[in-house]
């Protein structure tokens, strides 16, 4: 079960899990160094900066003195991360006959970052000269295009079989993305799983990273080196939004990748008379932003009333679909979706494995700024009722079990009780009438136990 909050961080874990040689190769690219720097926790960023022009290894205990007592745990996290990514190398130096752990910066990483900081940001590749032959879309158009493309993709992702084919993503690719998000039930087609629902509740950047991560982990099946893919994606995020870049400057692998990315709305491909070019959209250039732990907060759009009515200020079809997961859509105006949370709609959601807590957090995170200022942002009677309805479904708990009675003596009974309790299989006991109920899993052990002890 992927945890929502660490999706983006997971991507860096993936980078960290690359082999040492590949990782060192990655650091030859200035942009990757930069992107990696941005992905670090704040304290680790600070350490890297401080080490930037230091050639000597620095003793670990000196670094520890830089932080206050409150920050020791953060210090540990930062150092761990740096070592994991091979940005820091640990060496043991003997000073005054005492062995001391020292850290030094990865030389390639250091050199590249120094160069970057002294000479300023250079673009990964030259944009094409804007002449009259090329008509570039405005930033506004580009953003609408990107969001449209992305929503199209998401809709296709969750609707899978039904609906027309909207994007050019191959169905095998789609299957890869859907893995884990949809469960295939024979009875009524694919359904969103719990993580699928969580996926829909994430902000766009986190979703994007989830998809990209799947895309990369699938790379080897397509004979593409994951390291190449990672470096290209990170590099892409340093292009300027809205500029055109010639496709000639790319390798074949990058070109095929780019086609898939265009379907996700990361880039827009255009064909001229002679050349073709790609234009990165905001989704692409924001990639490295969301790498850090702290993701950007989105503005909410949901207003919840005490009478269980919900108004969502949104034009998006996707958001409508998300709300439909747990609410009844009553009517839609051009910029407003009016819906109601009912017992039936919630039971529907619970049936799909969505929990009341997930729904409540979703409502809280997406509440309209006017409501978000209030405490609580979602009326208490609504949250309570959602929880009550859920607990109403869980009134009965059933366990496969075995029932024992007619114990020959109190000692045997007590012994059996203790034995099953240690195994974690005791469900119920009645010491007066010497009866007990145990889980079916421990029945066999219980039988052996009784066999040896009751004689």
């Amino acid at each position: 079960m992927p945890q929502v909050k660490i999706i983006a961080k997971n991507f860096m874990d993936m980078v960290a899990s690359l082999t040492a040689i590949k990782l060192d190769k990655l650091y030859n690219n200035v942009f990757i160094c930069e992107a990696i720097l941005r992905s670090l926790p704040p304290l680790a960023k600070k350490y890297v900066l401080q080490f930037l022009f230091t050639d000597e290894p620095v003793p670990a205990k000196d670094i520890k003195e830089w932080v206050l007592a409150d920050g020791v745990s953060k210090h540990g996290v930062a150092i761990d991360r740096l070592i994991q990514l091979r940005i820091f190398t640990e060496t043991v130096v003997t000073v005054d006959r005492k062995k001391e752990t020292c850290y030094s910066l990865n030389p390639t990483f250091q050199k590249n970052l120094q160069k970057h900081i002294i000479s300023g940001g250079v673009l990964p590749r030259e944009p094409m000269n804007s002449n009259n032959a090329i008509k570039l879309p405005s930033l506004q158009e580009l953003e609408t295009y990107a969001l449209q493309q992305w929503e199209c993709f998401l809709l296709q992702l969750i609707n899978s079989g039904q609906g027309e084919k909207l994007t050019g993503i191959s169905s095998s690719m789609m299957k890869v993305f859907q893995r884990g998000l949809l469960s295939q039930r024979d009875r009524d087609g694919p359904r969103l799983t719990e993580s699928g629902f969580q996926f829909l509740l994430m902000d766009t950047n986190a979703q994007l990273w989830y998809i990209i991560r799947e895309y990369i982990s699938n790379a080897e099946e397509r004979d593409v080196d994951p390291a190449d893919l990672i470096s290209f994606l990170l590099e892409l995020s340093f292009h300027v939004t809205g500029e055109a870049y010639n496709l000639n400057t790319l390798t074949d692998v990058q070109r095929t990748t780019l086609k898939d990315l265009a379907d996700l709305g990361l880039v827009k491909l255009q064909q001229g008379r002679k050349d073709s070019w790609f234009i990165p959209t905001k989704l692409a250039t924001n990639l490295s932003v969301s790498l850090a732990d702290s993701s950007v907060r989105k503005e909410g759009y949901v207003m919840m009333e005490t009478n269980f009515r919900m108004y969502a200020y949104s034009t998006s079809k996707l958001q409508c679909e998300i709300l439909r997961l747990f609410a009844r859509i009553e009517y839609q105006l051009p910029n407003l979706i009016a819906c109601a949370i009912t017992k039936e709609s919630l039971y529907n959601a619970f049936d799909n494995g969505i929990t009341s807590e997930q729904i409540i957090t979703f409502l809280q995170q997406n509440s309209h700024p006017r409501c978000a200022d209030r405490v609580p942002s979602i009326p208490e009677n609504v949250t309570d009722q959602i929880r009550l309805w859920e607990s109403d479904l869980k009134r009965i708990e059933m366990t496969q079990a075995h029932f024992y009675d007619e114990f020959p003596s109190k000692d045997v009974f007590d012994g059996a009780c203790n034995f099953t309790r240690q195994l974690g299989g005791l469900l119920w006991e009645d010491s007066k009438r010497m009866r007990l109920v145990v889980k079916s899993e421990v029945h066999n052990q219980m039988r052996e136990y009784l066999h040896t002890h009751s004689k």
């Binding site: 109403d392 009965i396 059933m398 075995h402 029932f403 114990f407």
Partner: protein, 70 residues
């Protein structure tokens, strides 16, 4: 000698336990499924009735929920 019976162990609240007991009583004697009423919130029933009880409870719940008159 110790006696063992295979079955399903049910934990629920008191009203729900009463509902199940009542359900059991309304059955013809050949179909009675409760083996032991352990206490007010615990029952021990025959192994095959799990699904049957769940659907009966769901039906009971549906009957109890308010429907807007159309």
């Amino acid at each position: 000698m110790v006696n063992a019976i295979k079955g399903v162990f049910i934990t629920c609240d008191i009203p729900m336990a009463q509902f199940i007991v009542n359900m059991n009583n309304s059955m013809p004697s050949s179909q009675k499924f409760i083996i032991h009423v352990l206490d007010s919130t615990h029952l021990f029933v025959q192994p095959h009735v799990e699904q049957m009880i769940r659907s009966a409870v769901a039906e009971f719940r549906d009957q109890n929920s308010y429907e807007k008159p159309t």
